[in-house]
Amino acid sequence: MSVEQNKQIVRRFVQEHLNTGKLAEGAQYFAPDFVEHAAPPGMPPGYEGVKVFFTMLRNAFPDFHYELDDTVAESDLVVQRTTGHGTMKGEFLGMPPTGKHAAWSEIHTARLKDGKIVEHWASVDQLGMLQQLGLAPMPGGR
């Protein structure tokens, strides 16, 4: 698989599955031994954990979607910089809904092998997201 094909696989997964909620069908892009390094504690391993997490996220933020800001790829790695958008209408990871909208930055790294995603890491501005939702103190505040 070429770098361009790898980029397309990851882009389609985000646009056609994470952004639409068609999570069961998204499994086609993942290897059976896929390892998620970015799951919160308590998620099942593999793609099942991705499905559970994004189902929870989409239930809490019904308008959730990623905007794709940048893609960088080399060899077997594809990096995507995204902006997540969502309005908190339901409970999420034990936090009560605030009704507020947030837009937050993320950078994802996926490793692919034979056209399937085998590993995933993410840096997510969770603090910025929680601050916008009114669930964490602002910088400098205590």
Binding site: V72, S105, A122, L127, G128
Partner: protein, 141 residues
């Protein structure tokens, strides 16, 4: 500049500015019209002096901080460095007094490199994990 040269440039920048705490060397790595988009910074960091002040804030708070690289890739004018910061909270961080706690924080950085210098940077650091490790924000569960 080749992709390999751009990657080497980014590695040297972290080694010099973070691991050796040589903030004065920032001029070698960052262009005069540099813009940095950092999680945890409310506004973009513009220009070399503002960049120096931003990293000096962290080197004051974590004077022994060390970066290790998890992966570094490049394509076109971009370089992506996924890394781990380790250090000890020995100085004030914003208005958080030193706690003496060890920290280990993941981050991913994307750089746009023009003529051998960074003109733009997008950095997402696990600021929530950092605040939890410092005990400023309660850990989940």
């Amino acid at each position: 500049m080749s992709l390999e040269e751009n990657k080497a440039h980014v590695r040297r920048a972290f080694e010099e500015l973070i691991n050796r705490q040589n903030v004065a060397a920032a001029d070698q790595f960052v262009a005069p019209d540099y813009v940095g988009h950092f999680s945890g910074a409310p506004e973009p960091v513009r220009g070399v002096e503002a960049f120096k002040q931003f990293i000096a804030m962290y080197s004051t708070a974590f004077p022994d901080s060390q970066v290790s690289f998890e992966s570094v890739i490049a394509e076109g004018d971009r370089v992506v460095a996924r890394l781990t910061y380790r250090g000890t909270h020995k100085g004030p961080l914003m208005n958080i007094p030193p706690t003496g706690k060890p920290i280990e924080v993941m981050a991913t950085n994307i750089f746009r490199i023009v003529n051998g210098k960074a003109v733009e940077q997008w950095a997402i650091t696990d600021d929530l994990g950092l605040m939890q490790q410092l005990g400023v924000i309660p850990a989940p569960g």
